[in-house]
Structure formats: C-alpha cells, structure tokens
C-alpha cells in the first residue's frame, strides 16, 4: 500500500548542536547546553573529551571539568534560527521547521529553478551560513534525498564532511546509500525507540542493509507496526508514519482579536487555549497532528506563517512552545507596526495515534512537560536558589528527613536519585505522623513550669518539673498535655560536633501541637503539627 506512493524529494538542513552555536562558542572551547540536567548539545571540543548528548550533568562534568555550562533557552535558539529560516525562505518556497536547528524543504521546484540539486545545495548552504553569521563556520549539514529519513541521514553525513550530500533520485539509490549505515541511525534521525534498535543489535542486525534484507512480513510480524516502519524507511521508502493522511476539512482553529494585541504573553496564552482545543478535537478522534501551520497576522496585514513538523505528533505543550518561538522571533527580527489581530493553527497532516511512542527522550506526560517549562521560567524570574525541589536525605529530626535543593541542579524528570533513600532506618526518629510545618531555623522559646521556673532535663533524662507554659515573642501558650523527654545523643565520638538534646511533644490549650527540643539549656521550637 504505502510503498507504491512516490516519495517526495526533500532537503534537510541540519545543525548538529544549534544551542551551542547560539551560545557563541570559540572553536576550541568546550561548551555544553543542559535541559532538565541532561546534555542536549555540546561543542566539538567538549565532544572530543567525551561529553555526549543524553548524559547527566555530573557525568559530563567528570569527563570534561572545564566545560562551560549553558542552560537551554529554546526561545533564544528559535530567535536566532529565524534569521536562517527567513534567509532560506527567500529562495525556497515551502519550508518546514522541526525545531531550531533543523529545517526541511521540498526540492522539486527550487532544484529546477537553480539548475540541479548541486547548484541549489550550494546556494542554500551559502545563504544559510551568511544568515547564521557564524565566523567559526558552525558545522552544519545539507542532505538531499528521496524521503525525510534518507535526507536526514545524508545531512548528518554532510555535517561531518562540510559539503552537501546529494543522493541520486529513486528508491534504489537511497537504499544503496543507507545499506552500510548502522541501525543506530533509526533512533538518531527518525526517533525510533532505542530499545528496539538495541534489540536489533542483539539479534545480529547491525546495518540498515541487513534489516532490509529480512522479509518485510516477518519483521512486521515479529515487531509490529514499528518494525514495519523501520524496515520501510531503512529501504528508502515512504517515511510517513502508518496512518498518516490529510486531515478532514474544518479542523483549523483561530482567534480573531477585536483589539490588536501587542504582548506576546497574551498571544501565547490564547495559543494555549487554541492548542488544547485543537489537540483535544484531534485526540477525540484518536489522531495527533504531525504538521501544523501557524499563522499570525497584524492589523496592517503583516503576516508570519510557518510550518512546524514533528514525526511523533505535536502535543499541546509542543504547539504552544512553537507558537511562542515563532512570535518572539517575528517580533525580534521585523519591526511590527501594529498589534496582532489573528492567530490561526491549521493542521495539514495528521496521523492516527496508535500508541506507538516515537520520541528521543521517552514517554512523558504532558503535565511533566508543562512543569519543566514552568520551572525554567520561574528560575528566570526568581533566581536559581529560590526554586527548589525536595531531596531525601535521611535523619532523625523532622527537618533532616528531606532537604531542598535547587531545581536547576536536579533531574526533574528522573527523581529516583534524589528521593530513593527514604526507607533507611533511623533509630531515634520520631514516629509518624510528621509535622506539617518544620522550622529549618528553630525559634528560641522559654518553657516554664507551674511556679515559673525554667524546665530542665537531668543528665539521666528526667525532667525537672512538668512544663506548664511555652513563651516567646510570638507564642504564649499554656500546656495541656505533653510527652518526653526523648533524648538523643549524636556523634558522641566527635567532640566538636557531638549533640545531646531532648525532644518534647507539647499540646497547648489552644489545640496547637508543638515539637520542642532542649539543647544545652536552651529550648527551641523545631516544628509544629499544623
């Protein structure tokens, strides 16, 4: 069925590490860009030291201690990439952007215009380098072939050789080009899950040619639709995922503003509603949008129109992110004379959401994506040390069981490292329920007995008199019930750091339950069961 479809000839322009290019690295400077504490891009020098995409920050730093770290700022990347897109769009009609750093366009028309693929490739490459304004070159690759997969692989080859790679037309030529390449390309270019590729490796299939040599029916029977898809694109076939088709008419969503809008924040907010509506409508039919046209128009008819593509479908979060990139890049690179009056999202290609998860970073819920983006914005507003996540530390005092670490330093999406030691035993730990309010800086209080004297605890752990009142500048409570002392002696072997304290639970007449600690004759309010 789909194999008889003529595969369109496309060109892929690919910058391997666009975020690093935007961060502005000197040629021999090791730089890496992190997102959610994982490396997503690095410079050539860092790569030579062993830094690789997907590593955790600590791993990468241990391989290359002097590496400069930049946080992922997709908006900045998109704004910089917009210049390239505009420059290429001036000479090529239909461009699709996957993400900042990768763009795809159909070659049939431009190739005829420029007199052949090679000439067109040379022109586009020159224009792109000029627009990117990179004195250091910034290795990029331009690959032209039948089908997105082959073109993407060709672009990666081209990035290494710094010359455009053009594959001859026809499925034979594409298959011949792909055959000797490793199956790892399926993950790297087409987003096939790594587990599948590793399984192929364990079964002895290491090259794409070996995969296509297997009968398609058997591969599909063994691995399901994913195997069939991998077999097809490895042979240079149609790389539109199974079930891809043009959407029914009438699915576009748009909002017309009576009052022109000038703030991109407000536009992004509306885009979010539109995106959720669109994704919801498609989702109700069991479909997901793979190619989306985003159109924004101002009162004076200045238009911004971009086609965005993602092979495993655009979630609402992904759509909003791309709208934000597009609007901010547009506002930055052109002087707009009026506010925006129209925002339109038009799905031009959808596919059935058959549950095949194709993605580079594993299945993740939409809520996780929203949260990670929000944390990045919160850090930008409030600062790195003010946005915190809990880390399990272990301890026998309420404020020691968990500590707070900066969200920037933590792996938000894989928290097992920081939360996994919760179940270790701590003798002397207070039993559950734990207090809901914990004072990391305990407040000094005085505890007096019925006659007004200070309450003490003897060396043998006996309390001098029952506590009758707890007082401080902020508290003046009468004790109704109490329990203690629960003595604790920590680090008795270390003279400098040893601690002896006694803990009390005190219930006041007003119903407050307080956790007090007596150490070296001073009473402290350490927590409250609020």
């Amino acid at each position: 069925m789909p194999d008889r479809v003529v595969v369109p000839r496309v060109a892929v322009l690919w910058w391997p590490h666009w975020p690093v290019v935007v961060a502005g690295a000197a040629p021999d400077e090791p730089v890496m860009v992190l997102h959610a504490n994982r490396v997503i891009a690095h410079s050539v020098a860092a790569g030579a030291d062993g830094v690789a995409v997907g590593q955790r920050r600590r791993d990468a730093q241990s391989r290359c201690p002097l590496v400069r770290i930049e946080q992922h700022d997709p908006t900045r990347d998109a704004r910089a990439f917009e210049r390239v897109v505009q420059a290429v769009a001036a000479i090529v009609p239909r461009i699709e952007i996957t993400e900042p750093g990768t763009l795809t366009f159909m070659t049939r028309g431009p190739s005829r215009y420029f007199g052949g693929d090679a000439a067109m490739a040379a022109t586009v490459a020159r224009v792109a380098i000029e627009a990117a304004g990179l004195a250091s070159g910034g290795t990029f690759g331009l690959g032209i072939a039948d089908g997105r997969f082959a073109a993407g692989v060709a672009a990666r080859r081209a990035a290494r050789s710094s010359d455009p790679v053009v594959i001859a037309a026809g499925q034979q030529a594409a298959a011949a080009f792909l055959a000797p390449l490793p199956v790892r390309m399926l993950t790297v270019v087409a987003g096939v899950p790594t587990e599948f590729v590793q399984l192929l490796g364990r079964l002895g299939v290491h090259r794409l040619g070996e995969l296509t040599a297997l009968p398609l029916l058997e591969v599909a029977a063994r691995f399901g639709p994913l195997g069939g898809f991998a077999h097809r694109i490895a042979g240079g076939g149609d790389d539109r995922l199974p079930g891809t088709h043009d959407p029914p008419v009438g699915l576009a969503v748009q909002r017309v503003f009576e009052e022109p809008v000038h703030h991109s924040d407000a536009l992004v907010f509306v885009a979010r509603q539109l995106a959720e509506e669109l994704v919801g409508q498609l989702g109700a039919d069991g479909r997901v949008c793979t190619r989306l046209v985003v159109i924004a128009e101002t009162e004076h008819s200045e238009t911004s129109e971009r086609t965005w593509y993602r092979s495993n479908g655009l979630s609402a979060a992904a759509v909003v992110e791309r709208v934000r990139w597009q609007l901010e890049a547009w506002a930055q690179n052109e002087t707009l004379t009026a506010g925006v009056t129209l925002l339109r999202l038009d799905p031009v290609e959808v596919r059935s959401d058959d549950g095949v998860q194709l993605g580079l970073w594993g299945g993740r819920t939409q809520a996780d994506e929203w949260a990670v983006r929000a944390v990045a914005r919160m850090v930008a507003v409030a600062g790195e040390q003010q946005v915190l996540v809990p880390a399990a530390q272990g301890g026998r005092h309420p404020h020691e069981a968990f500590t707070w670490v900066s969200a920037v330093a933590a792996d938000l999406l894989e928290p097992d490292d920081r939360l996994s030691i919760r179940d270790a035993p701590w003798p002397g730990r207070l039993p559950s329920p734990s207090p809901a309010i914990v004072h990391s800086c305990p407040q000094a209080v005085t505890v007096i007995d019925a006659v007004g004297g200070a309450v003490r605890v003897t060396g043998r752990g006996f309390v001098s008199a029952p506590p009758a009142a707890v007082q401080s500048k902020a508290i003046n409570e009468v004790v109704q019930a109490w329990a203690g002392p629960w003595p604790v002696e920590e680090r008795w072997w270390d003279l400098a750091r040893s601690r002896r304290m006694a803990r009390f639970q005190v219930l006041t007449c007003s119903g407050r339950l307080l956790l007090l600690a007596l150490e070296r004759g001073q009473w402290w309010l350490t927590a409250e069961y609020a």
Partner: protein, 233 residues
C-alpha cells in the same frame, strides 16, 4: 463522529454532560469525597484552608491530584514539611517550592515579581499552594492571577486566610483534638478533626469527622469511636 460534535455543541450551550465536566475536575483523596460537591475539585477554583489544621488540610487536598500525576507548586510557605506531605499522599517527585529570600528584607519579592512568578506557576502546575508569605500580594494582582488560573484550569489552595485570594471554597477545622498525649507519657498518634466546608458553590455548609492525620500520617474518615487512652501520672 456525530456524537462528538453534539457533545461539543452541548458544552457551548452551557450544559455540561457528565463526560465533558469530568475533564475540568481533579480527583481528591477518598476522605474528602463526602465533603466536596461532586466528590471532586473543580479546576480553576480557589480553596482556602483555615484554622489550626490549615497546613495539613491544604497538603491533603493537594495529595489527591498529585497521586494522579499532577505537579504541585508551593509558594510563600517556607516551612512546609515534606515528610508530612509525603505521608499525606503528596508525591515528592512532583513537588516544587519557591522560597523567597527572607533573610535580607531588600531581596524579598516585590509585587511584580510575585505576579510573574505566580503566572509561570499557574501555566505549568495543576495545583498551587500559597502560604502566609503571599498575603502581601495586592488584590488587583491576585484577581488577575485567579482569572488566569480559571482559564488555565489550575487550582489554588491557600494555607491560612488570604484576603487577596478570595476563595470559592473554604475549609475550616471547627474542632480538633490530638490523641495520645498524657502527662509526660505517650506520643501524638492522630488528630480527630471536624472539618467544615462553606463557600459560594456549597448551598448548605457540610461537615465531616476526619483523622487529620491518622497514626500513619494519612487523612482518613472517622469510622471507629473507640479512642485509646493513655494512663495518667
């Protein structure tokens, strides 16, 4: 897909069928199901937790959505006890806190910073817990943030009374007693609380007797009436 179109039309007319309405709600712990109308939290609502058990109530309300996968953000509540939150059911892996640098009065957040910060939090998190540190936010800013939360579908839970964030629902603890402490003996192993719910969408005020928390730290509806006594003296 004629059925889907009809449901969409119904939603536009303002009559929400059960299916469509369920997507605008967040689940809660079983103990709260008898209290809340519809046994769910409506997305976009503002809930105020007041009284002596405000912190536990707020964390317990956030626990229901957290266990379903929602992310919870805490602001203005520097002393929140994560161990207590985890016992009540909040998932620490999906908890983020914003701590105002209170040590130096000049570095505290001003109103504009709070506005930007809370807007980002509303956009990214389904549940927001606002503690006493947020009472200084201006009413106008708070009203805009509440409107944003309503449009986005986030739930705002305030710990303690917060005049700027006027609540749709108000939880109060009218009676509470900690069990297990005596005169120098025992240990606190549970709080019996009478939780009252009032609000615009609640026609008659509702009450429930809950363990807030029980001995294992969770919130439970009260079923048994026998309470262990501790010997005095």
């Amino acid at each position: 897909m004629a059925g889907v179109t009809n449901l969409a039309e119904l939603a536009e007319r303002g009559v929400l069928s059960g299916v469509v309405a369920r997507e605008r709600t967040l689940a809660v712990l079983p103990a709260f199901e008898s209290l809340l109308p519809g046994a769910v939290l409506q997305r976009g609502s503002v809930v105020a937790c007041e009284g002596s058990a405000a912190a536990s109530l707020a964390l317990a309300l956030a626990a229901g959505p957290s266990q379903e996968g929602a992310w919870v953000a805490v602001a203005g509540f520097p002393g929140v006890g994560v161990a207590a939150a985890a016992e009540l059911g909040v998932v620490p892996a999906r908890l983020v806190m914003v701590a105002e640098p209170i040590a130096d009065p000049t570095t505290r957040f001003n109103d504009a910073t709070w506005a930007d910060l809370l807007a980002a939090m509303i956009d990214g998190f389904d549940v927001l817990l606002l503690g006493p540190g947020t009472v200084r936010i201006r009413t106008g800013t708070a009203r805009r943030l509440v409107a944003r939360a309503q449009a986005r579908g986030a739930v705002i839970i305030t710990v303690g009374a917060n005049a700027a964030f006027a609540g749709d629902l108000r939880f109060d603890v009218t009676q509470s007693s900690w069990q297990g402490l005596g005169e120098g003996c025992g240990v606190a192993h549970g709080r019996r609380a009478r939780v009252q719910l009032t609000g615009r969408r609640v026609p008659r005020l509702r009450n429930a007797e809950l363990w807030l928390p029980a001995a294992d730290g969770q919130v439970k509806a009260m079923v048994e009436s026998v309470v262990a006594l501790c010997p005095t003296g």
